[in-house]
Every structure is written in C-alpha cells, then in structure tokens.
Amino acid sequence: MPTEWRDFFTLTKPRVMTLVIFTAICGVLAAPGSIHPVIGFTAILAIAMGAGGSAVLNMWWEADIDAGMKRTMNRPLPGGRMRREDARDFGFFLSGVSIALMGLAVGWLAAALLLGAIIYYAVIYTMWLKPRTPQNIVIGGGAGAFPPLIGWVAVTGEVTAMPLLLFAIIFFWTPPHFWALALFVQSDYAKVGIPMLPVVAGEKATRRQIMLYTLLLAPIAIAPWYIGGTGWIYGSVAVVLSVLFVVLAMPVFTRTRAETDAMTPEKTLFKFSIAYLFVLFAALVADRLAAYQGWIA
C-alpha cells in the first residue's frame, strides 16, 4: 500500500518547523539592507526545506528509539506506515534540493550555512552526540539556532556580530526550554536509554543547569540592544522577558519533586519559554521596521 502523503509531511516535524520558519523570517526582516521578496521567500523556503529534510533524517535514524516512547511511537516509521528507505531517500532529497535552491537563488554562503545546519542536526546531534552525552540538548540547540543566522546572511551576504547573537539566543534558550519539558516526561527517555540530563544526572542537577542557562541567556538576549544593533523597542522587550524568564526559572531551580506532583512550575516555564522566543524575535522585527519608518533611532 502506498504511503499517505500526510505521513511524508509528518516526517518533516511541521510543529518544529513553525519555529524554524518564524525565526528565519525574523532573520530576513531584521537584517539591514534589502532583498527582493521573491528571493527572500526562496531563502525562507530553502531554510524550511532544509529543516524538514534534517528532521526526516532524524526520524529515519531514530525509528527504533521512537518506537519505545509513548510520545513518538505512532510516528509514520515506528507506526509501520512507511518503509525506512523511503524516509531516508525523502530526507536526502529534501536536504539536497534545499541547499541547491539556496545556493542558486540566494547565495552560496547561506547555502553553506544551511548545509552546516543539516549536518549538525542530522549527523553531529542525531547520530553522534544525542545517544552519548547528557549535554545532547545543548548541542542540539545549535541546530535550531541556525535559521535566523541563515536568514540574516541571505540578506547581507556576511556573518557579523548580530546574526551570531541571534544564533546564541536560541542556543542558550534551548536547554532551559527542553529540560523543563524533560523534567515532566523523563520516564519516556529513561525507557529508551537516551541520556537525558534528568535521567543520568538527576533532577537536582537538571534544575541547576536550567537556572545556569537561563542566567546565561538573559545578557545574551539583551546584547543586541547593548551593542547598538537594535533600538529601545527590542531592548525593553528583551529586558522584561529575560527578567520574567529568570523569575519563572527560580522556583524550578529551588524546589524538589513531591510524591504526587503536578510539576506546575516546570510546565509554566516550558510554556513561557515558547512565548519568550516568539515575542523576542517579533520585537526584533518590530524594532527594525520602526527604525525603517524613522519612528526610532
């Protein structure tokens, strides 16, 4: 029986892709200079296809692990709705087309960064480090940090401090975001032997690391304004959001799990972290648009 086209779409992790597309659009819109709308659209499409391709390769490689976890056992591969080779070929095809599209239509520096992002996620993270180190999420965060960097470079054609800061924001945001989730779904990861921090180092160490990365994130999130790369709109939003992030991370850091625990602070922090990134990047774009209009310096 032929695989449903929806299953191919599911392999690209569409929910994750919304964040990828959003941060890539922000990178394109916030970068100084101009880009033709068709080229800008193509850059975002190539980034989305690259992210989709690497997600497919991730699902192809982790099909056995996914089969052992409740959250992922119904995905197309562990669910038996698709052949593994089809997923592998689809992943390579999407990745290859995305790099060629970016290189030919936008620029080869952006294409090289996209290739780097795909290799980083599909090979360095998925195949090499995720099954080996409890710091896997820190490393994996690097893959998710590429889209705004590539979007920015698609416009400017060069890597400068600002796109690197955008990269750093997502890089340092990922650990508290994901470990907050891992604290309340840790039994699943333990079952399949993935060395998630709460599984191998315990909850106390995880809570400490969440606090540590939250404290590292705050000055990095404010840095684009501090170095003069943005105006007060982004600066004020970054300060308020980062203070809130630290305030919400504090109870996660200080408390210990009770016998019957709803894990409310952890769930709140996880939900807030998603809003944090969306609002922060939206503020970056709003700041740039206000500057273009001459409303702010």
């Binding site: 032929p2 449903e4 068709v38 030919l104 239509a105």
Partner: protein, 43 residues
Amino acid sequence: MTPDDEREFLRRRKARNLVVAGALLFFVILFYAITMVRIGGQG
C-alpha cells in the same frame, strides 16, 4: 487484494500524485520568478 484495499490503494496513489504535481507546478512558477528577478538584476 480486496476491492476495498484496491480502492484505498488507488485513493492514496492519486492523492500522492496530486501533491507531487502541485509541488512541481509550484517550483516551475518559483524558478520562473527567480529567473526573472535575477535577469532583472533586482536580486
């Protein structure tokens, strides 16, 4: 293959073919637009 299976087989194949055709059409239009922008020197 039962008649029901065959119907499902044809439905899935048709749906996949339509998606592939749509994607191809989309890329034809996109490449045309990219070419026009590049030739016009606006990219």
